[in-house]
Amino acid sequence: MQVKRGLAEMMKGGVIMDVVNAEQAKIAEDAGACAVMALERVPADIRRDGGVARMSDPEMIEGIKAAVTIPVMAKARIGHFVEAQILQALGVDYIDESEVLTPADETHHIDKFAFTVPFVCGATNLGEALRRIGEGACMIRSKGEAGTGNIVEAVRHLRSILGDIRKITQADNAELFQWAKSLQAPLPLVQEIAETGRLQVPLFCAGGIATPADAALAMQLGAEAVFVGSGIFKSDDPSPRAKAIVEATTHFRDADILAKVSRGLGAPMTGIAMDEINQTQRFAERGW
């Protein structure tokens, strides 16, 4: 378990970037990414194209693995344990059981204890995070709303998860039973949070980060690292933006450095306001 959970510790304070080919993977590594997420289309394109989004072609994942020295993650559909088996066989370093892909199971998530490769899962609230940890996830990322370039959902989800953790540390034993019930979360995990004041696994932020300031906002709110999907390669000039987001994630409390790295980056991705997306097209609603 230390080996599985430990890799997330190594990614703390870092930026994990979505890449769709070896060339982008090199740009990400050059910029200082601590890992890359190999996928066929960034979330903004998945959203635009519609249809069923699946695990990437193994050949494309192999190409990215060969191009960089940093860890390579890849996405499997929610509940699609065979896609996960294939990704493990390919030797990816982390599997993201991701709501960005079209779910394969509308009731069950993958039994992540059955794998040697660690998993990251998305969560919009503490109950969802603890259900995923109960299934064996080694890292939680707040979901945000992928492919929008809009940080508002990520902020909502981080505040919800971290706010409830703060409340639970104030609860007495009787109240913890009620917390477990209302969160639909395993009681022992709720009790553990009451004692330690923190989630059992690292909490990263995803979904909507488009600027260095967005990354620093997530970190100041309490995220321990950030995922940037469409925000880099859907912007005008990906390389300097990627570098700036890496610096902003490290120096997230230093406003002078944030001001310096935010200059002259060209246009960020255009982005989508939440009321422009109808409920059925929200990725964050996927997951149970």
Binding site: V3, L7, K12
Partner: protein
């Protein structure tokens, strides 16, 4: 009071800081040249050495840190920290920084990818009981210079080593509750440990 810095550009710095504090050490996270001036020793954590290398550059810390290490500041590097401290890095990136502070050649990800990561008990010279070592995409020592003292080996390959004020481990002592290697680092360099608790 002596302050032990933890290089906090990226990686497992929080876990190292917790281990040092558990020993009663006064700690400080180091991200800028100003932070570096305020510390008397430095722990360089696991993480991605390419990321840290880039951030050493953009933060303007590289020349100062190189000078401090050359000037005798005690440093303890684990995993990626070991890569940064070695004299030679194999399978790294050509533009990756190395401080050349300990005469070792190391191969980046020499033990393989995450699926090859493992944990095992090792015997460390100077410690009475075995140490539980967690290896994650760990660097592998390929050659050892004559002035390097090997403190522990796994399958014949050195995994803990020391050269004067520079100590390295290819695994992650910060991920287990056992702080004996941190303690060994501090004691070897004359830091007094005031145990406040326990």
């Amino acid at each position: 009071m002596n302050t032990v810095g933890v290089l906090a550009l990226q990686g497992a710095f929080a876990a190292h800081e917790a281990a040092l504090r558990g020993l009663g050490a006064h700690t400080r996270q180091v991200r800028t040249p100003a932070d570096l001036i305020a510390v008397d020793a430095l722990v360089m954590p696991g993480g991605e050495s390419t990321t840290m290398s880039r951030l050493l550059d953009t933060s303007g810390m590289y020349p100062d840190l190189k000078a401090r290490i050359a000037g005798g500041m005690p440093v303890f590097g684990t995993c990626a920290g070991m890569i940064l401290l070695a004299t030679e890095v194999l399978d790294g990136r050509a533009d990756q920084y190395s401080f050349g502070a300990i005469d070792l050649a190391v191969r980046r990800n020499g033990y393989g990818r995450q699926v090859d990561s493992f944990e095992t008990d090792i015997t460390v010279s100077g410690l009475a009981e075995p140490f539980h070592a967690v290896f994650i995409r760990a660097p592998k020592v390929v050659t050892v210079g004559p002035s390097v003292e090997v403190l522990a080996a796994h399958d014949g390959t050195p995994v803990v080593a020391r050269q004067d004020h520079v100590m390295v481990a290819s695994f992650h002592p910060e991920l287990t509750p056992d702080a004996r290697l941190h303690e060994m680092f501090l004691q070897h360099n004359g830091f007094t440990i005031e145990k406040e608790r326990g």
